[in-house]
Symmetry: C3
Subunit: 116 residues, 3 copies
């Protein structure tokens, strides 16, 4: 059986799961109720911290799904995102407006896979 | 070319697809119109059956995306989910409210990857 | 470090990313405002073009997530989808209604993984 590595495991979810050299992670904002610029920064900081801890980095993301609660947040989110992605290493990316996130004060949630 | 294994294939979807030792599956409730506790149990039972048939189990899930139609269902869904996940083996998990699922009587749909 | 191949990279996203023999891609319609039949055809044509360019094809899709903005589009979308999927090779497939896509004239967005 191939090995699975789990980090930050609770009864409900893991902060990161690694298998076959692929990291799986989902990140939500630290500050419920903050504006989209702050929340995007928090989510991307959280992702970057995880990736670096696990021997990867933002240049090695494979696919990302960005869930927003308001499409009016797109421009501000993209400004933070575009500046954060290292040149030439953007992932495949889906971006959709959902009808809600688990905490009503969250404006963004990002799920992604990255190569170690 | 790397081998792909498909199970329960229709013209539209497969119940499960395996590649590189990774199982991909999507599960919906058996009982349209049932409450969230019943539907979550049905979805997780369906996932577990698939995983065991394919030589995996609920302790080997890598990433899960949970689509709900009502955030008021979160607590009851999580109660079933938390009890079902074997201790120490929770996956990366995204949970969002969508604007609708294909059958109007479905309250939940789960997509996931798991290691064989 | 395992190799990552990126195609069609902008500052924001890549058209396709390949790692471990798995292709990741996300496709949106070419014609904002067109009906669902046209947009589904455009999205699937775009996916097929990408896959063939990268040494894969529609018979090698592993998992697909279909985001719709209107569930009334399901039947017409499925008609195009079912005819496009080669017999016996349907992927695991999630299909949900989102609250919106980035361009208000888009009715569909598809994210998927495929084996090279």
């Amino acid at each position: 059986m191939s090995a699975i590595e789990r980090h930050g495991v609770t009864a409900r979810y893991a902060d990161a799961v690694i298998h076959n050299d692929v990291i799986h992670l989902v990140e939500v904002p630290a500050t419920s109720g903050a504006d989209i610029g702050v929340q995007t920064r928090e989510v991307l900081d959280g992702i970057e911290r995880q990736l670096r801890t696990l021997g990867s980095d933002p240049s090695r993301i494979l696919m990302a799904t960005i869930y927003l609660t308001d499409l009016a947040d797109c421009t501000a989110m993209n400004a933070v995102w575009d500046a954060w992605i290292p040149a030439g290493s953007a992932p495949a990316r889906a971006c959709v407006k959902v009808a809600g996130l688990v905490d009503p004060g969250w404006r963004i949630e990002i799920a992604l896979t990255a190569a170690r």
